[in-house]
């Protein structure tokens, strides 16, 4: 139901074409930014400051030839977001004279216990550490049992006691780590409300008894305006050193990430990206910026795609698509790239999830697009003559039957392929006329624009950084 900021801007500036930004349309743009940020759950006060800064920068913009005002505006917003979300040293403060102690805190239900398990696995695998998990949540029924199960799953020992004071359990946990030669201790504390004075005192006691090197606040990506109040309080009481953003595999815009960053000044260290225990990733500001703006998490896709597709051929394809010179041969190449990419990204379904708007596609649609079909289509194209590939109109019933026989597929499959090809061509044309292809398949690649891109590059501006997906 939420339009992405890019969509809003496209609509807003549609009548503007390539003319200049005026104070009036900057005002309109600023209003859209405000709404988009609020819909993304960015804190009210943070929105206000942010919007003011964007406005200042937009007013000072000089017009760039051939660049639509909407694009310029989105760039300002995007850059500002990235600047706010990142830009600080985020290395873990390892303790070289004993175990490094991580204390994990947060509201109930944010995913602390799962995050502890993920972190333990990550540090064991990626950093070669020997972690010990400590069950300090004596409050929630079966929380200790949950951590024990997770410990077994990630092959990390768990220190637990039956009942008792959390600070004492934690202190004994650290002692146990020293005794058994573990070099990382992860304390799983009970979830609590920031206004629960007694429980916040308890956390201070745990901190006092264990001197953690890192105190990380686990924040649910779905959290709303209250994120500011709770983060501020946790930070005030404990001097938090970092944030872990959990449940980013949903469709929440995670605007809280921005609020917390702005309010506490503490870096976001990791993001939880799924229910599986290996699904934790270092935080990348650009990705969350794109997410807040509703642009989908395409950076990940682009990064992975770059391993498969070299930029030149991608650019060539995009160019051809625009010149209507796009043939079945090009389609075949694309199919192969998609197939290679999809095997890297866990199948077509997994790949589509990364694309803007695609996360909403029902499974009936994505489920039908299996890798086998791509193989059949490739085979069918390979059975065609060069003439048929460049001009598929000549493919009558007789020719289709021959192609089906030659490729070991069926006429139905060949028909499906041709239909898909036709549909894609049509869509490209429509996208082109709407001018939003720039966001899907790279910038418009007409000669004039290409020249401008090169000009900009010489001036140190790389258009590909403007949007996470371009």
């Amino acid at each position: 139901m939420f339009d992405s900021l890019a969509q809003r801007f496209t609509r807003l500036f549609a009548g503007l074409g390539r003319s200049k930004l005026t104070p009036a349309n900057i005002e309109d743009g600023v209003r859209e930014v405000r709404t988009a940020l609020l819909e993304a759950d960015v804190g009210l006060d943070v929105v206000r400051g942010f919007v003011e800064r964007v406005k200042e920068k937009a007013v000072g913009l000089t017009r760039l030839d051939g660049v639509a005002p909407a694009d310029q505006f989105v760039k300002v917003v995007h850059d500002e977001l990235v600047a706010l979300l990142g830009g600080e040293e985020t290395r873990i403060r390892w303790n070289d004279r004993g175990p490094t102690v991580f204390m994990m805190v947060g509201l109930q239900g944010t995913g602390k216990t799962t995050t502890c398990g993920k972190l333990a696995l990550h540090l064991r695998r990626k950093e070669g550490k020997k972690p010990l998990l400590v069950a300090a949540d004596v409050k929630r029924p079966a929380a200790i049992e949950q951590l024990k199960v997770i410990g077994r799953q990630v092959d990390v020992p768990v220190y637990a006691e039956e009942g008792g004071r959390p600070e004492k359990i934690c202190a004994r946990g650290v002692a146990k780590a020293i005794e058994t030669g573990r070099d990382v201790v992860i304390l799983d504390t009970a979830g609590r409300l920031h206004i629960d004075a007694e429980l916040m005192d308890e956390l201070e006691d745990v901190k006092g008894k264990t001197n953690p090197h890192e105190i990380w606040l686990v924040v649910d990506a779905q959290v709303g305006q209250d994120a500011v109040a709770s983060a501020r309080e946790f930070d005030r009481r404990l001097a938090v050193t970092g944030v872990v953003l959990s449940k980013t595999d949903g469709d929440a815009r995670a605007g809280a990430a921005l609020s917390i960053r702005e309010v506490t000044g503490k870096p976001i260290r990791y993001v939880g990206t799924g229910e599986k225990l290996e699904q934790i990733e270092p935080f990348v500001p650009k990705r969350v910026a794109g997410r807040i703006l509703g642009m989908g998490d395409v950076v990940g896709l682009v990064e992975k795609a770059q391993e498969v597709v070299d930029e030149a051929s991608a650019r060539e394809t995009a160019e051809k698509m625009f010149r209507d010179a796009w043939t079945l041969d090009d389609f075949r190449l694309q199919l192969r790239q998609v197939r290679e990419m999809s095997s890297k990204l866990g199948g077509l379904g997994g790949m589509l999830k990364h694309m803007p708007g695609m996360a909403d596609l029902p499974e009936e649609v994505t489920g039908r697009m299996d890798d086998g079909q791509l193989v059949r289509w490739e085979a069918a194209i390979e059975s065609m003559t060069p003439k048929e590939r460049t001009d598929p109109v000549v493919l009558d019933g007789q020719r289709r039957a021959r192609v089906a026989r030659g490729s070991g597929t069926s006429v139905a499959s060949v028909n499906e392929l041709l239909k898909a090809f036709k549909l894609m061509r049509k869509q490209v044309k429509e996208l082109k006329s709407k001018g939003i292809l720039g966001r899907l398949a790279g910038r418009r690649m007409d000669k004039q624009k290409l020249k401008q891109i090169e000009d900009l590059k010489r001036r140190g501006i790389d258009l590909r950084n403007w949007f996470p997906e371009s």
């Binding site: 759950d41 239900g109 929380a143 920031h194 201070e204 990506a221 779905q222 469709d251 929440a252 499974e363």
Partner: protein, 303 residues
């Protein structure tokens, strides 16, 4: 902690209370103008009502003001509260009961929203009238979820139907409903695994649970409660839409309203899927459950 810190903390609390009172006092002496509307808008946005619904509400106030139905500044907040209460009240907030046999309540929601705890409280609530309750542990995914529900069943002294972690949740749900029927239970409450509404396969699993439950009792589930965390922001709307689409939600159980979060997204949820809020969870104790009170909820948005 030193005396100074304690004092400082106490003062902070006082400051908050003062600020709230001060704001109310300011309303009294103010003119009814756009700046007053802007302040109300801020209150709604800060309470997670969201930009869309907030704009709609403020537009209603503005229209009433221009039509001279609203003239005094001190009437504005009550007017707005009434508009919100009305939105939340329609459709009734009472629990649906089966005509005969056990009333089956399916409980679902995203991860960490507080499903299992809410079921513990709901069971106590249902037992108040001496009703017989059977719990079904159909969260077979999360580590120790079955153990957690078992502890709640012991605290409440009710039966629980369960299988090992990893079992088919639909089968557990079916067994629970069948057991409830056989033992003459008044309620069967089924716990399900937390799932993000974007996980198509898990949403299909939930649909399957619902279908299978119907095989045991054709008009079940009589209630499908969606648990929503009050600290959630605008994503609550998406959750409600998607769960409603998959399993036809009949009521909302809002949790964690005892913090400073206002849960204003529920107003937008009501606007979107039209399903009433039925229960409120306010703490970690077994008695921390209340029947939803729209007027009190609306008033709290402006506290």
């Amino acid at each position: 902690m030193g005396l100074f810190d304690k004092l400082k903390r106490g003062l902070a609390k006082t400051r908050e209370v003062l600020a709230g009172g001060l704001r109310r006092a300011l309303f009294l002496g103010r003119a009814l103008d756009e700046s007053l509307l802007a302040d109300l808008e801020r209150a709604l946005l800060a309470g997670d009502v969201g930009p869309r619904t907030t704009t709609a509400l403020i537009d209603e106030v503005r229209a009433a003001w221009k039509a001279k139905r609203l003239q005094r500044s001190e009437d504005v907040e009550p007017f707005l509260r009434e508009r919100i209460t009305e939105r939340l009240r329609s459709g009734g907030n009472a629990l649906v009961r089966a005509a005969s046999g056990p009333t089956v309540i399916l409980v679902c929601g995203v991860n960490g929203s507080g499903k299992t705890t809410s079921i513990g409280k709901l069971t106590k609530f249902l037992k108040r009238d001496g009703a017989r309750v059977v719990l079904g542990a159909a969260d077979t995914f999360r580590a120790a979820a079955v153990e957690q529900l078992t502890i709640w069943s012991e605290r409440n002294g009710v039966e629980i139907v369960k299988q090992a972690q990893g079992a088919d949740p639909a089968a557990v749900a079916f067994d629970a409903v069948t057991a409830g029927k056989a033992r003459g239970a008044d309620y069967v409450v089924i716990d399900t695994a937390g799932r993000l509404h974007t996980q198509t396969n898990l949403m299909q699993e939930l649909e399957k649970i619902r279908r299978v439950v119907k095989k045991a009792v054709p008009d079940a589930p009589h209630e499908t409660l969606l648990v929503i965390d009050a600290t959630n922001g605008q994503n609550a709307i998406r959750q409600a839409e998607q769960f409603h689409k998959a399993v036809t939600v009949t009521g909302i159980f809002v949790t964690k309203l005892d913090g400073t979060a206002k849960g204003g997204a529920l107003v937008a949820v009501r606007d979107t899927i039209g399903v009433p809020v039925k229960f409120v969870g306010t703490g970690e104790q077994i008695d921390d459950i209340e029947v939803f009170d729209p007027a009190a909820f609306a008033a709290a948005l402006f506290d």
